[in-house]
Amino acid sequence: MTTPPAVVPAVESGEFERERVPDRALKGPTAFWGMYAGEHTAGTEFMLGPLFIAWGATANSIIFGLLIGNLLAVLTWRFLTARIATAQRLTLYYKMEKIAGGKLVVLYNLANGILFCFLAGAMVTVSATAVGPFFPSMAMPTFDTMLPTGPGWIVACALIGGAMTLVALKGYGFVAKVGHWSAPWMFLVFVACAFVTLGRLESFDLMTLLTPPPGTLTKISFWGVVFFAWFCNAAMHLGMADLSVLRFAKKASSGWASAAGMFLGHYVAWICAALLLVYWVRFHGVDPTVGKDPGTMVNDAVGWAGLICIIIAGWTTANPTIYRAGLAFQGMVPGMTRSTGTLIAGSLCIGAGIFPAFAMNLLSFVGLYGTVLAPIGAIIVVDFYFAERLGIPTDPAERAGAGFNVAVLLAWLIPVAVAMYGYKFHGVFASFLPLPCAIACAVLYVVFSKAFGPKPATA
């Protein structure tokens, strides 16, 4: 996973949040390659790689499924997000306001803010496992741990989450810099973990090493892995949150920069992290479905450098998450200060971090995260590509002076509700849901817009 989408309310920095980015502020592709490479090598990668092993993914699924899924993600970024971002040069937030109305954006912010908090909580959980090697008596969570493992664990999460929140209160400029500085080093630590593991396993045959032992229950198919890799950042590409970032790109071709994040962070780093658990399964007899906490595995492989990596990777990604969640909450309540919003977000995040259930169900959580947020992007795609051809107005809320576009609300909520039903009661894998949900949302938006959407006076 990554830092969350750069969806920030207009109060944040005054950087063209409510206007088209002017030509003088545009950036070349280099800025985006570095940014994507850094943002997509996060602490949670240490959790996701081993989770594939725990779910019994085959070697083919991990090696080729991830390759295809990440390629599809890059293509989505390049040909949908970057295309719209460079044509309109608006933040998602402002574009949504034009389509859905300011009041509906508040609701979107609530969903966004809460999901950010759970995501940041998962990062706190991962970071807290780095404390484990220093306190051997403290029980560390495994994949089947849902509740706090004890008072020590709660204190560790509270201290780490509290520190992250305090830094977030100061803004995230410094943490963004640390994230930038640490990106190349962090990536090499992931690769170092893989080197050490391959040396210990005395084999370079990834296909054999990643093949689950006979009798392993396969809980994720080849296509499950493809769709997971494609949609674990659905909120950012299909959901259009990265409009806020890519609107600064001179050309849409900067969308290719997402390949740096996908293939370094979500391919190489995931496989490196997966190998750690393979070693613990083969040499220490760990049950792959139970797993081992990242702190212990990384400390065992590369020592203190690895523990520092876990903490920094968690910190640099959780901190902006808390900051943005705070802004989202602030945007909802008139008069609330950013500090109050950040404290609320930080408290929710600490609460989520204390319960390992969120981090241990990351494979499902990120799918649901995309399911809730991606449909909004589908509405923007309709507005950009098809609205005029289909006879519905572009930017309807703005042009009609409406504060709340019911057509958007229903087109968003109905597919999401159906998807949640499918997930909860029929066990549909969460990563299969964002795409049909987004398509259904787009179709419903067209139908509802024609039927009862806001109509500009001149339309």
Binding site: A31, G34, M35, G38, G173, A176, K177, G179, H180, W181, S182, P184, W185, L188, V189, V191, A192, C193, F195, V196, L198, G199, V302, G303, W304, A305, G306, I308
Partner: protein, 56 residues
């Protein structure tokens, strides 16, 4: 100063990845590898702010 920091930083990155590669081929013991990586971590974070642009 900047170019010196840059070379030192690149050296630190090399010291982060070369020792694990040597360990993989049984050319370096695990403990020495871990300590080298730990030292490289400090050097990297001491030098990177000097020559790498921050991303605000």
């Amino acid at each position: 100063m900047q170019s010196f920091a840059k070379y030192l930083g690149l050296l630190a990155l090399a010291a982060t990845i070369v020792p694990p590669a040597l360990f993989m081929f049984k050319l370096m013991p695990l403990d020495a590898m871990k300590w080298t990586m730990f030292a490289a971590t400090f050097v990297w974070f001491a030098t990177a702010p000097v020559w790498m642009k921050g991303s605000d």
